[in-house]
């Protein structure tokens, strides 16, 4: 395709991405280095017949002028990155000096809001991803083995947890695990503990969030793996069967290698999606026990005081996190491209 034609075809989508992704990223970077102006205070002496009083008040005009002059706020460099709400260098240093071993150090810094969010985000990402891969593969193998007539129906119901709005899905599960809901009530009866609540403890909240994450993500791996199983090399499996390989051996030596590219693909997508975990925390009303990086950004942005600088800094740190997470894949794509040329 000629450069000229290419240009006109790509222009609309390019403009959309430039103005609403590239520029906002730049703006977020810039904002993360600035903090809003403090109000300029002036002290005036008010004198009346009974004496003079010093009154401190906000100089609205001067403040406004300053804001107009520098709408971005005061340049503070990396200060916001290192403050208590983010990387908290000072506190980390203190905790490092005060703690005897790594474990107590980790438990100390997990009280800092940003590290708390990182811990949950990483735990969520690295538990949900392997579990959903494994269960999705099991279901795909199972569905592949049963009567074909049932498959359409099975796929229909399997799609539900993934297609449904994440916020709505998590709200529904939240209602079910409510102590008056059907699952919560059931658990209370089974464990004969009328006070058992999945919402009250941090570890149980984490478990429910992870269970939700797996429930939501299984359909994706199931569908992709199931599609992959339709292209299995039949002759290989037959010869393996003749050689006496059992089902397990066939799975390990023929099926898994065959769908390995799909496993990589699903893993990549899941790492990306699970790293941005956010809706279930709102849906489960879990912010007291679990927060994620996305939740921190959302929390800073919302409410009466929109803390844009804080949110911008968290956003940049999140993007850096995702780049680190996906670096191996990016390097791989890069190498493969050069190889092809």
């Amino acid at each position: 395709m000629k450069h000229r034609t290419f240009f006109w075809f790509i222009l609309p989508t390019f403009l959309a991405m430039f103005f609403f992704i590239t520029l906002p990223i730049i703006s977020v970077v810039v904002q993360s280095f600035h903090t809003p102006h403090e109000n300029i205070l002036i002290t005036v002496e008010n004198c009346d017949p009974f004496g003079c009083k010093k009154v401190t008040s906000i100089d609205h005009e001067a403040t406004k002028e300053l804001k107009n002059e520098k709408p971005l706020g005061k340049f503070v460099g990396l200060d916001i990155y290192f403050d208590r709400g983010h990387l908290a260098l000072e506190q980390v240093k203190q905790h490092w000096n005060n703690s005897e071993n790594l474990l107590s150090f980790l438990s100390l810094i997990s009280d800092l809001p940003f590290y708390k969010a990182i811990f949950f985000t990483l735990t969520f990402t690295f538990t949900v991803t392997p579990i959903m891969l494994f269960l999705g593969l099991l279901i795909a193998l199972g569905v592949n083995a049963i009567n074909r007539k049932l498959k359409g129906l099975i796929i229909f119901f399997s799609l539900l947890p993934m297609i449904v709005t994440p916020l709505i899905g998590s709200i529904i599960l939240f209602w079910m695990i409510d102590s008056r809901g059907i699952v919560g009530n059931f658990l209370q009866i089974t464990f004969e503990d009328p006070n058992l609540s999945l919402k009250a403890s941090t570890s149980l909240t984490w478990v429910t969030l992870i269970v939700y994450g797996v429930w939501h993500a299984i359909p994706f791996s199931f569908i992709v793996f199931y599609a992959g199983l339709q292209t299995l090399p039949k002759d290989q499996i037959e010869s393996a069967q003749i050689d006496g390989a059992n089902t397990f051996q066939q799975t390990i030596h023929i099926i898994i290698p065959h769908i390995m590219p799909l496993i990589t693909f699903v893993t990549l997508m899941q790492l990306m999606d699970n790293f941005r975990v956010f809706e279930p925390i709102i849906g489960f009303n879990a912010e007291a026990h679990a927060t994620s990086l996305s939740w921190i950004i959302f929390n800073d942005l919302g409410g009466e005081t929109r803390q844009l600088s804080a949110a911008a800094t968290s956003s940049i740190l999140t993007i850096i996190g995702i780049i680190i997470l996906l670096l191996p894949v990016l390097i791989k794509t890069w190498r493969e491209f050069d190889f092809k040329k």
């Binding site: 000629k2 034609t5 075809f9 790509i10 989508t13 959309a16 991405m17 609403f20 992704i21 520029l23 990223i25 730049i26 703006s27 977020v28 904002q31 099991l138 193998l141 199972g142 569905v143 592949n144 083995a145 399997s158 799609l159 539900l160 947890p161 709005t165 994440p166 916020l167 709505i168 529904i172 209602w175 409510d178 059907i182 009530n185 059931f186 299984i218 569908i223 599609a227 199983l229 299995l232 039949k234 499996i237 089902t247 066939q250 790293f275 941005r276 956010f278 809706e279 950004i297 959302f298 942005l301 844009l308 949110a311 999140t318 993007i319 995702i322 780049i323 996906l326 990016l330 794509t333």
Partner: protein, 297 residues
């Protein structure tokens, strides 16, 4: 055996196949039950939906019968749609989804076609940029939107949100359509050009007609992205312009205090029904869309 039951070992219902059936039905139960329970419960009163006394009330609706004389009531739906004006959110969602899908597909098809038919190095870089953008959580961009939107009075309106949703979904749309275009042989547009078509005409008259399955599949996914979005719509829409998902989130805050949980339940069910219908009609398309990216890598 397990993976091609029709070939060797036709021994019916062995113990392993019983385990498989049990496992599959357990998964189906786990996948479907929450929705069935919520749907059924949405026609009950709160005391039945959350039954402290006896969990069978959730099925039989004892308290609903006592209050309204029948085990089914539309009070929750009436409260959500009429009293709390959920219909407004429904209309907003419809508008947002319609225009997001329309715009995404229009500009996405053009862009993806160009990317799939060009071999220059910048094509690769554009695709890589799109991949990186695709991997970033959309919420990380919101801090960049707010100051200019406030400054120019764009914040809170539906068109602004539509444009933002279109843009942040472009990377995904581009990748998906790109992989569909790659499956269409290049000879097709080459031969059209030999016959005297310009690139634009070849695209419009030859490529787009054979692309419809791919466009529909991509459209479904960009519909889902717009429909399911919470983070961006909650941040960018003013109260009166809220779409369904942020409206439900707002319900949760107010209804818990007012004791109208059933309004929220009815709203949740109402917002799930369109998705249900969507899967019913487009199941194969959704499956092909999910596997498309995988097959092409």
């Amino acid at each position: 055996m397990m993976f091609n039951s029709n070939k060797i070992n036709k021994t019916s219902l062995t113990s392993s196949s019983i385990i498989i059936y049990f496992f599959i039905f357990l998964w189906i139960f786990l996948a479907a039950f929450p929705f069935i329970w919520t749907f059924w419960g949405s026609f009950k009163v709160e005391l039945d939906f959350f039954s402290i006394a006896n969990w069978t009330n959730a099925i039989t609706g004892e308290n609903t019968k006592q209050t309204y004389g029948s085990p089914f009531t539309f009070v929750g739906y009436h409260g959500a749609w009429v009293q709390e004006e959920f219909w407004k959110a429904f209309i907003n969602t419809s508008l947002v989804c319609f225009f997001v899908v329309l715009t995404s597909l229009t500009i996405g098809t053009l862009g993806a076609y160009a990317l799939s038919r060009s071999n220059y190095k910048y094509t690769f870089w554009l695709l890589i940029m799109a991949l990186i953008f695709r991997s970033m959580p959309p919420i990380t961009l919101v801090a960049g939107y707010l100051p200019p939107f406030f400054e120019w009075n764009l914040w809170g309106s539906l068109p602004t949100t539509i444009i933002v949703l279109v843009s942040i979904n472009q990377p995904f749309t581009l990748w998906m359509l790109h992989s569909f275009f790659q499956n269409i042989p290049k000879e097709l547009d080459e031969s059209a050009k030999v016959d005297g078509c310009s690139q634009y005409k070849a695209f419009g008259y030859v490529i787009v007609p054979v692309m419809w399955p791919g466009i529909i599949t991509t459209g479904l996914f960009s519909f889902l992205l717009a429909y399911n979005d919470f983070a961006v719509t909650a941040m960018l829409l003013s109260d009166e312009n809220r779409t369904m998902v942020p409206q439900i989130a707002a319900f949760l805050g107010t209804t818990y205090t007012e004791g109208n949980v059933m309004f929220a339940v009815a709203a949740v069910v109402s917002a799930t029904v369109p998705l249900f219908i969507l899967i019913m009609f487009f199941q194969t398309k959704i499956v092909s869309g999910l596997t498309q990216g995988a097959v092409k890598g």
